[in-house]
């Protein structure tokens, strides 16, 4: 993996990971033709995974985090980028998802967005990618806020570009909610700054410990924790702060949905882990606070309530959106249980869920490209007309259920082991029971697309073009591959989990 040679650029890879898409976005805005904008975006997004993989290889090799001081200003004064195992892993996930759907995007975007707006779409796409990568790579609390806002603002535009007239309303709702979330986060960071006088994550962590000894500061720190907890939870769509998500996913352009489902919540989850484990975890005894309990309850509520909503949905995109909320519940559950197995499961599920959900949304994007709808009634019998598309959908769907031999099984297995290690047998049953609900909602759409008589629009549908099928099957193949070869997901996750838990008090 480390055979890639970057020459003199080697030490600057961390900043390149953010700067390349940022300037790419700027350049794209000057290109008025959709196809040119697409080509440039494609080139940019394909460079990013290479950088991310190089970083991961280096971190795994040395076992030490890569610290990049911007402008050579050292830590507490300047902004620092810090790439440890967890960050490198999440960077790989986000950049790879960002790249793999680009070949799919051209036709889909050309069909769903008018020509002059297409290059805006690609610009926003790169800007969003910049923000998400920035959240993960930065070691600075305020810088993370800036990137959070960059990605969020770009996301609002991406959603608003959707063809459906409810896209605007959905984007507006998400804008309000996203702003509330970001505000809560920055209030929390502000409180921490008052207490510690620094914005660097590592620095906050070391100074927080002594500060807490002062009872006056203790209350401020607890309040900061509450604000950051809720603010970030809103961005990652934790129940009951999830309601913005189904509409945002349902009415965004197909490619944007696939991209956001795979990456946006993942970056927020990363931020959550970073703050809770690497900042507060070191200074506070989190176990003595109600945070894990609250998180367990909300995660389990998400696993069940969102899954039930998915069962009754008639819009396939909304169904998958509800399923995403449930899957976020799994990830957060593993974080709340906070032992090595459960955290490994959660981290592995970040990648596994990204792969599976992106595949599912891409398949729906291909259907939308052919028949212009993802309502169940219109999709009836489409499996017979688009067997390759819906075949990939079925494979990824089986993965989502957590069937052995697929990626979904791996993460649920470690979550289950983690729950047993934590002594919560009841939680094992809940994980399994909510998987059964996913069997129902995936089973329901499978029945619609394969066994129902074809609808009017399905009768004339054709198989999706090759540029759509290749990314789709790449991801569907990865669903199966990651179910057997767990080196890339579980091994890295286990190391990251070990580091995270090692620092915790």
């Amino acid at each position: 993996m480390s055979s890639l040679s970057w020459g003199t650029a080697e030490p600057h890879l961390p900043i390149l990971l953010v700067v390349v898409p940022l300037f790419g976005a700027l350049l794209v805005t000057f290109l008025r033709r959709g196809i040119l904008a697409w080509a440039l975006t494609l080139a940019v997004t394909f460079v990013l995974p290479l950088i991310a993989i190089s970083l991961l290889a280096k971190v795994l090799q040395t076992g030490q985090p890569i610290i990049y001081e911007i402008g050579n200003w050292p830590a507490p004064i300047g902004i620092v980028y810090k790439v440890d195992q967890l960050a490198a892993y999440v960077l790989c996930v986000i950049s790879m998802i960002g790249a793999v759907i680009m070949p799919f995007a051209r036709r889909s975007i050309a069909a769903e967005i008018q020509e002059p707006a297409q290059s805006w779409y690609y610009a926003m796409y790169l800007l969003c990618l910049t923000g998400l990568l920035g959240i993960v790579i930065t070691g600075d609390a305020f810088n993370a806020f800036v990137f959070l806002e960059i990605s969020s603002l770009a996301t609002y535009v991406l959603i608003a570009l959707g063809r459906h007239r409810r896209a605007l309303l959905s984007a507006y709702q998400y804008l309000i909610m996203g702003t509330i979330g970001a505000t809560l986060y920055i209030i929390g960071v502000g409180l921490l700054y008052v207490v510690t006088g620094t914005l660097n994550f590592d620095d906050i962590a070391t100074r927080l410990g002594p500060a807490i000894a002062d009872p006056g500061y203790r209350n401020a720190v607890l309040t900061a924790l509450g604000f950051i907890f809720v603010g970030v939870s809103l961005k990652l769509a934790l129940f009951p702060m999830h309601v913005w998500l189904p509409n945002a996913y349902a009415y965004a352009p197909s490619v944007a949905t696939a991209f956001l489902a795979g990456t946006a919540t993942k970056a927020a989850i990363y931020l959550f882990i970073r703050v809770i484990f690497s900042v507060f975890g070191i200074a506070l005894a989190i176990d003595s606070l109600p945070i894990p309990l609250v998180l367990i309850i909300l995660s389990i509520a998400a696993m069940f309530l969102a899954s039930f909503s998915a069962v009754f949905e008639e819009n396939a995109k909304r169904m998958l959106a509800y399923s995403s909320i449930a899957q976020v519940g799994y990830i957060m559950l593993g974080i709340a249980l906070a032992n090595e197995a459960s955290l490994t499961g959660s981290l592995a599920h970040i990648a596994n869920h990204a792969v599976m959900k992106t595949a599912l949304f891409l398949a729906l994007g291909a259907v939308f490209y052919r028949i212009g709808s993802v309502m169940y009634d219109d999709m009836a019998g489409i499996g017979r007309k688009m067997p390759l598309t819906m075949g990939a959908f079925a494979v990824a769907g089986i993965g989502l259920m957590g069937t052995p031999g697929t990626a979904g099984f791996i993460s649920k297995w470690y979550l289950g082991i983690g729950a047993i290690d934590a002594g919560h047998y009841s939680i094992v049953f809940m994980i399994v029971a909510s998987s059964l609900i996913s069997v129902i909602y995936i089973g329901r759409i499978t029945e619609v697309v394969w066994f129902r008589a074809p609808s009017e629009s399905a009768k004339t549908a054709k198989e999706a073009p090759l540029s759509m099928l290749i990314p789709l099957w790449l991801l569907a193949g990865a669903t199966v591959y990651l179910g057997f070869d767990t080196q890339a997901t579980v091994d890295v996750s286990a190391k990251a989990a070990e580091v995270l838990l090692g620092g915790i008090r």
């Binding site: 309040t223 924790l225 509409n247 969102a306 047993i420």
Partner: protein, 562 residues
């Protein structure tokens, strides 16, 4: 521990199944269908005992291929079955069914050769997917049944997964060895196995789903799912006493419902439950002879049940009819199919000189030598019952009885050939059981052909045969159960049987009603809250979203202060 490079036989069949759709040429497809099972069989038979392939998964060392005597018995009969089934199904138009059937057969071999719990579980789940696809591929009729089947096996898989995860967490070992029912994870594993074996209270899935498969699909289905479950019970829970009553229940459940049934393939489906009941009882008895008997009976049962279903499948293929009342008199134009069906029927009835005789008598003898009097009597009575429902009823109503006016020709050569192969095994093993006895896990000092055995079995069969024809009129007209059971159990049994029958029907209906009512109620309640208009399904106004965010924030902060 030697680890040499070998191809897992399970993968040969699974790969053959997965690549089957690529072979557009019919002849090439035939070659794959016939050659891959033979290759698998050859590896199974030539591989020496021991561990042959390790792998690493989930941080555990897995034993992907391990073989011993017990595994070889099951793996080889599964491979034989895949070959015969493939030969029988050469004319099957649905590539999906053949692909699924081969993946299904391959994973069954995988279960038999799995050396640890995780490998076993993974193959187990692939098997569930494969078998579901076999049922689904039969078209419209199969859909409801296939989805119900999938739901039941998903439940079994979930129990098993929870059990396996718990067992590994508790013991730290993935080894698949004999267990007892001392811990919750082991009980869960046991329950997962029992779902597949067709144990009460979920016995009904089998007769519900299998007959909805196509004419060839059911031949595959009859062989693998229940018998892999028998295998894992043999390996994991030999001598678990609760299996004796479970097995006896299955034995009689199968007989009673088979006698009441009119659909020829459903009769045979019930008789699978019945026959597997014999094996489960044998596992419960748990002596070396009983375990040998259970393994041997699984081997012979797969072959003669396949033969019966092939002959029923041929009739279905040629006539399109499946009800006993629509069939009859087919011996005129399908004499070979009829003859093969009769061989299968004799074998399932344990007629001397057939394979059923040399295997089933081991189980009842084991019960006798353990002085389990009630079990012995129950098995004896059940043997007579088997002859009634499968041994005579099936061939009589399909091939003889009244003339239905149907004049179908014999099925194509390949179907006849695979029936001939199975019939050869039935009679060959009946006359010369040594090769099978040599394969069994424990040394066999059992002699099937003693005067007492033969005379006893013939008496049993003759009298039940006599009863069948004497009471044929009653049996045909009313289809009641009391008559047969009256003969079996005499007076006291009569009341009990009719009570059980009524009780069974009432409780089942009550249960089904309650389930349906409960499910509708739950669905309604869920829909109310989660449907598009429900609290969790609709889009909230932005203010409501913000409100709940505030509530969560307040809750977290206040709880932190407390």
């Amino acid at each position: 521990m030697t680890t040499s490079l070998i191809i897992p036989p399970a993968l040969i069949l699974i790969c053959a199944g997965l690549t089957l759709p690529l072979f557009a040429l019919v002849r090439l497809r035939w070659l794959v269908l016939l050659a891959s099972p033979l290759a698998a069989l050859w590896i199974v038979l030539t591989l020496p005992d021991g561990i042959h392939l390790n792998g690493s998964f989930l941080g555990q060392t897995l034993v992907l291929v391990k073989i011993d005597a017990l595994a070889r018995v099951f793996a080889s009969v599964f491979a034989i079955m895949a070959f015969a089934g493939g030969l029988f199904a050469l004319n099957q138009k649905s590539t999906l069914e053949l692909s699924a059937a081969f993946v299904y057969a391959g994973s069954a071999i995988g279960v038999a050769m799995a050396g640890d719990l995780i490998t076993m579980f993974i193959y187990w789940e692939i098997m569930a997917i494969g078998s579901t696809l076999v049922i689904l591929s039969s078209g419209r009729r199969g859909q409801g049944a296939g989805l119900r089947y999938a739901a039941i096996h998903m439940l079994g898989g979930v129990l098993l997964m929870a059990g396996v995860a718990g067992e590994i967490a508790a013991t730290g070992s993935v080894a698949f060895t004999a267990m007892d029912l001392s811990t919750i994870p082991r009980m869960l594993i046991f329950a997962g196995f029992l779902v597949n074996v067709g144990a009460p209270p979920l016995s009904a899935w089998l007769a519900d789903a299998y007959p909805e498969a196509s004419w060839s699909g059911m031949v595959f289905l009859s062989a693998f799912t229940t018998k892999t479950a028998v295998y894992v019970l043999l390996r994991g829970f030999p001598g678990t006493e609760i299996l004796i009553p479970i097995g006896l229940f299955m034995v009689f459940y199968g007989i009673i419902f088979a006698i009441l049934e009119n659909d020829m393939r459903r009769i045979l489906a019930y008789s699978i439950v019945n026959q597997v009941g014999f094996m489960v009882t044998g596992i419960g008895i748990g002596t070396e002879m009983a375990l040998n008997g259970a393994a041997a009976h699984a081997f012979t049962h797969i072959i003669y049940k396949a033969l019966l279903l092939m002959s029923a499948g041929s009739v279905l293929y040629m006539t399109g009819k499946r009800k006993c009342t629509d069939l009859g008199g087919l011996f005129r134009t399908m004499p070979l199919t009829c003859a093969f069906g009769i061989v299968g029927a004799l074998a399932i009835s344990s007629f001397p000189a057939t394979s059923g005789f040399i295997s089933k008598s081991m189980i009842s003898d084991a019960a006798g030598s353990e002085h389990l009097v009630i079990v012995w009597f129950a098995l004896a009575a059940a043997s007579a019952g088997v002859f009634l429902h499968a041994g005579i009823k099936f061939p009589w109503f399909v091939f003889f009885q009244k003339d239905s006016g149907l004049r179908p020709p014999e099925p194509p050569w390949n179907m006849l050939a695979s029936m001939a192969l199975m019939a050869f095994f039935c009679i060959g093993l009946g006359l010369y059981p040594k090769p099978l006895y040599d394969m069994l896990p424990y040394p066999v000092d059992f002699v099937p052909y003693t005067g007492a055995h033969v005379v006893y079995q013939l008496q049993l069969l003759l009298f039940s045969g006599l009863a069948f024809f004497l009471m044929l009129g009653l049996l045909k007209r009313t289809m009641t159960i009391t008559l047969d059971v009256d003969w079996l159990w005499r007076r006291p049994g009569h009341a009990l049987a009719s009570f059980l029958d009524r009780f069974g029907v009432y409780t089942w209906e009550w249960f089904a009603d309650a389930v349906v009512r409960g499910a509708t109620g739950v669905r309604k309640a869920l829909y109310q809250h989660h449907g598009p208009k429900g609290l969790f399904g609709r889009t909230w106004p932005t203010g409501t979203m913000a409100f709940w965010t505030t509530v969560t924030l307040g809750a977290v902060v206040i709880l932190s202060y407390l």
